[in-house]
Amino acid sequence: MLGYILKRVLATIPVMAIVAIFVFLLLRLTPGDPAAILAGDAATPDQLERIRDRLGLNDPLYIQFFTWVGQLLQGDLGTSLISNTSVSSMIGNRIGPTINIALMTILISVALAVPMGVIAAWRHRTWVDFLVMSFSVLGFSVPVFVIGYILIQIFAIELRWVPVQGYVSPGEDFGDFFVRAIMPSLTLATIYIALIARMTRASMLEVLGEDYIRTARAKGVRENVVLFRHALRNAAVPILTIIGTGFALLISGVVVTESVFNIPGIGRLTVDAILARDYPVIQAMILLTAGIYVVVNLLVDISYSFFDPRIRY
C-alpha cells in the first residue's frame, strides 16, 4: 500500500508540471492586460508601458515562466498583480470558507442521499422509489441559484431564522457559522443528494440481485443488516467515486453559490482573478485545483480497499 501511495504521489509531479506549463502559456495567449486593469480607463499608453515594466509583463515569456517556477520551487506562489498582496495569503484566507462549506455540504448529502438511495433500491418500483427519483430529477434540473433564492426568501426574509448572507468561521463562533452555512450547504447539497442517491440506488440494485444477498436473506439475516452491511459495502465503490469527485468539485469553488450567499471562497477569488487577468492568482488557483483533484482521487482509491477487501494495491 505504502509503495502504491508513493508511486501515485510521484506521478503527480509530471501532472502538475504539465498543468503549470499549460496554464502559463494559455494565460499569456488570452487577450487582456493586467496593467490596464490596474491603471484604469484614462491611462495613457506611456503610463501603461511603465506599469507593465514594473510588473515584469514586458519580460520575454521564458523569463516570466522561469521566474514563476523558481518562486514555486521555493514555496512562493507570487504576488497579485492587482492588489499587490501575497497569493498564498489570498488563497489561505479564502480556502477556509470553501472547505467548511464543502464539508458541510458533503456531510448533509451523504447523510441524506445514501439512505435515500438504499431505500429506493430496497423498495424498487414503489412510491418510495418514485419519490426519491423525482427528487433526484428535480435536484439536477433546478439551477442552484434558484434554490438559493427560494431558501433565502423563505428562511431569511419571511421566517427570519437565518441571516441572508455572509460567513463566520467556525473557530470564531460555531453557532454563527452554522446558521450562515446551512443555507448555502443545503443549496449545494441538492445536486449532490440527487447525484449520490441515484448512484447509490443503481449500485444497490445491482448488488441486491447477487446470490450472496439471497443467501444472507435465506439464512435469516435481518433486512437492515443485509442492506447496510452486506449490500451497501459491496456497492460502495461507485458511490465513493461520486462523493470524492463531488468534494473536489466543491473545493474547486462554487462561484454561483458563493455569490448568492456572499461567501468569500476561492470560487469568487478565481473568477475575479480571471476577469482582471491577475496571472499569479489564476496560475496558483489552477495548480491548487489540480492538486486537490490528485489528492482526492488518491484518497478515494485508497478508501476502496477498506470497503472492498478484494481490492488490494
Binding site: L38, A39, A42, Q47, N93, Q165, S169, V260
Partner: protein, 531 residues
C-alpha cells in the same frame, strides 16, 4: 531567505483550521458600525496609480485633499487656503492648523509637494499643469508655493476635482513611490484610518474613525466643508449579486448599497425600513468612440452618418428601461455642469435619422467595409450599447461585424492601433461619471493629439487650439464660450458620440441619516440612529 513553510503559512492555516481571517470584523458592542455594499471590491489601494472609482472612494476615506469642489463646481479650501498672484503665475497655499497623519506626524508642505508631484505624473490635468510649472516648493512647514511659467487659469479646478484622480495628500515618504508602482503604506490624514489587518482584497475593507482629525469650518457641500465622523467604523463589503445585497438590506444586515439594479427596485420600494434615492445628482454618460485611424471612420462624413443612425432614446431605454433613470442629453461636458451645452447635438438627441445617415454614407462613398464593433459581454452597464448600435448602423447601410468578448479583451484590443485585418477595431462603447468629462482638460475624449490622444486617436489640431485657449481663459464666461465651441466642434467632427446620461439609484437603511448628496459616496457627517 524565504522558506517553504513561511511562504505557505497562510495557505496551511486556511487548509488545516478553516480560516478566521475572513470572519466579518466583530465590533465591540457599543461601537457604531456602518456596513456598506459598494459597487465593486477594493483591490488597489493606491488612489494615484489607478482611476478605478472604488479606489478613489477609498482615497476620500483615508486621505484629505488641499481643496475640493462644492456643488457649484467651485473650488473651496479643505486642507489649505490659497492666494493667486495678480499675474496668475504664483499660487500660494497655506495649510490649516491641526492637520495630522494617522501616525501622528503633522502634515507639512513637504508632504504636499511630494504628493502633488506624484499625482502630476499620473493625472492628465496634472500633467498639463506641470508642463507649465517653473517650481513647486515648500518654503516652510505650512506653506506651498507653486510657480508657473505661464498662466493656467483652471489650475484650482484641476487640483480640486473629485474624479478620477484627485490629488490626495500622503506623507512624503509614501509619495516618493514611483507613479508606476503601487504604494505599500496606507497612512493618510483623512477622517478615517485604514484597518490593514481586516482588509481582504476584493471582499472587505474596514475604516475606523480618526479621533485626531480636525474638521474645517464651513458648510458641507459635495466634497467641500467639514468632515465630521459620527460613527466608529465603516465596513465596505462586496456582494457580487445585487439581489443578495438587497435582501441583506431589507433584513437589516447591511446599511447601504451604493449601486442598485433598476430591475430590482420594486423589492426595495416595498420595504418600510429602506430609502431608495439618487444621491449622485449628475450620474454617468455613455459614449461611443470611433477609431479615427482606419477606414471607414477616418472619414468625417462616415462618422456623422453613424451619429445620425444612433438614437440616445433607444440606447438609454435599452440600458435602463425606466425613464426616471436616464436623460437624453447632448452636452459632452454633462447637462448639469457649468460648461454643459447641447449645441449641435440634434443628430443624437433628436432620434435616429436613417435617411440622413444613408445619404451621408453615399456621399462619403462608403464601400461596405465592415465595422468591427467590440461588444463586452461581462459588464452589465456596457453590454447593451453595442447591440443597439449594431442594429441602427445596419439599418443605415453599414456592414457591422459585432465581436463579443469580455471587457478585458476590449481593454487590450482598444489600445491596438493596428489595421482591422491585424486585430484593430472601429468602435467601442464605454461609460464615465459626469465629473470625469465635465471640462475640456478632464475629458480625455476631447484630446486631439493623434497618437498621444485617448484610444481612437483623433488628430485634431483645431480642438487642441481650443483647449489651449481654455487654459488661458480667465473668466467663467470665456471658459463657457470656448466649451461651447468645443461642443459644436465635437458634434461636427464626431470625435466621439455622446449617447446620453443615466443615473444609478442608491439605497440606505432608514437608520442612516445625514448622508451627503455627492457624486462620490462619502461616510462623514452621517449618523446611524439605531443598531
Amino acid at each position: 531567505m524565504k522558506t517553504f513553510s513561511s511562504n505557505y503559512h497562510w495557505l496551511a492555516a486556511g487548509l488545516v483550521a478553516g480560516s478566521t481571517a475572513f470572519t466579518p470584523a466583530i465590533a465591540q458592542e457599543d461601537e457604531v458600525t456602518i456596513t456598506a455594499v459598494m459597487h465593486s471590491g477594493l483591490r488597489v489601494l493606491d488612489p494615484v496609480i489607478t482611476t478605478a472609482h472604488i479606489t478613489r472612494n477609498h482615497g476620500y476615506m483615508i486621505y484629505d485633499v488641499l481643496t475640493a469642489v462644492d456643488e457649484n463646481f467651485t473650488p473651496q479650501p479643505q486642507m489649505a487656503d490659497w492666494e493667486i498672484s495678480d499675474d496668475g503665475l504664483v499660487y500660494t497655499f497655506t495649510l490649516r492648523d491641526g492637520l495630522l497623519f494617522h501616525d501622528g506626524a503633522p502634515v507639512t508642505g513637504e508632504d504636499v509637494v511630494a504628493s502633488l508631484t506624484r499625482w502630476g505624473d499620473r493625472d492628465s490635468g496634472g500633467q498639463l499643469i506641470f508642463d507649465v510649472t517653473e517650481s513647486l516648493e515648500a518654503p516652510d512647514e505650512k506653506t506651498i508655493v507653486w510657480t508657473l511659467t505661464e498662466p493656467f487659469a483652471p489650475l484650482m479646478d484641476v487640483i480640486s476635482k473629485q474624479s478620477a484622480v484627485p490629488p490626495f495628500i500622503m506623507p512624503a515618504r509614501v509619495a516618493a513611490t514611483p507613479p508606476s508602482e503601487t504604494i505599500t503604506e496606507y497612512v493618510g490624514s483623512g477622517p478615517f484610518t485604514f484597518n490593514e489587518d481586516e482588509y481582504e482584497p476584493g471582499v472587505s475593507v474596514t475604516y475606523e474613525k480618526f479621533d485626531d482629525y480636525v474638521p474645517r469650518d464651513g458648510e458641507v457641500s459635495w466634497m467641500a466643508g467639514p468632515k465630521e465622523v459620527k460613527v466608529d467604523r465603516v465596513v465596505w463589503t462586496t456582494m457580487p449579486d445585487n439581489l443578495t445585497a438587497i435582501n441583506a438590506l431589507v433584513a437589516g444586515e447591511i446599511d447601504y448599497i451604493e449601486q442598485l439594479s433598476i430591475d430590482l427596485l420594486p423589492i426595495l420600494e416595498a420595504a418600510p425600513n429602506v430609502v431608495v434615492e439618487m444621491r449622485d445628482p449628475l450620474g454617468y454618460v455613455t459614449i461611443g468612440r470611433p477609431n479615427h485611424l482606419h477606414p471607414p471612420f477616418d472619414n468625417k462624413l462616415v462618422r456623422q452618418a453613424a451619429m445620425d443612425a444612433l438614437s440616445q432614446e433607444n440606447m438609454l431605454a435599452t440600458m435602463q428601461g425606466n425613464p426616471d433613470y436616464y436623460n437624453v442629453c447632448g452636452a459632452i461636458f454633462g447637462c448639469a455642469t457649468p460648461l454643459g451645452d447641447e449645441t449641435g447635438s440634434e443628430p443624437v438627441t433628436g432620434g435616429a435619422d436613417i435617411e440622413a445617415a444613408k445619404a451621408k454614407l453615399e456621399e462619403a462613398g462608403y464601400d461596405g467595409t465592415p465595422i468591427v464593433l467590440m461588444a463586452p459581454t461581462d459588464v452589465v452597464s456596457l453590454m447593451n450599447q453595442p447591440v443597439v448600435a449594431a442594429q441602427a448602423l445596419r439599418e443605415a447601410g453599414f456592414e457591422v461585424d459585432m465581436q463579443s468578448m469580455d471587457w478585458q479583451s476590449v481593454v487590450q484590443r482598444r489600445a491596438q492601433q493596428n489595421t482591422i485585418e491585424d486585430g484593430g477595431w472601429n468602435m467601442f462603447f464605454t461609460n464615465w461619471m459626469v465629473p470625469e468629462v465635465s471640462d475640456p482638460l478632464i475629458n480625455v475624449m476631447v484630446n486631439g493629439r493623434g497618437d498621444d490622444a485617448w484610444f481612437g486617436w483623433p488628430d485634431d489640431p483645431e480642438i487642441e487650439e481650443m483647449r489651449a485657449a481654455f487654459v488661458k481663459a480667465t473668466t467663467p464666461e470665456e471658459q463657457k464660450a470656448i466649451a461651447v465651441d468645443i461642443q459644436a466642434h465635437v458634434m461636427d467632427n464626431v470625435n466621439y458620440i455622446m449617447m446620453g446620461e443615466y443615473l444609478i439609484p442608491q439605497a440606505r437603511s432608514t437608520a442612516l441619516e445625514g448622508m451627503i448628496p455627492s457624486p462620490v459616496p462619502v461616510f462623514w457627517n452621517m449618523e446611524k440612529t439605531s443598531e
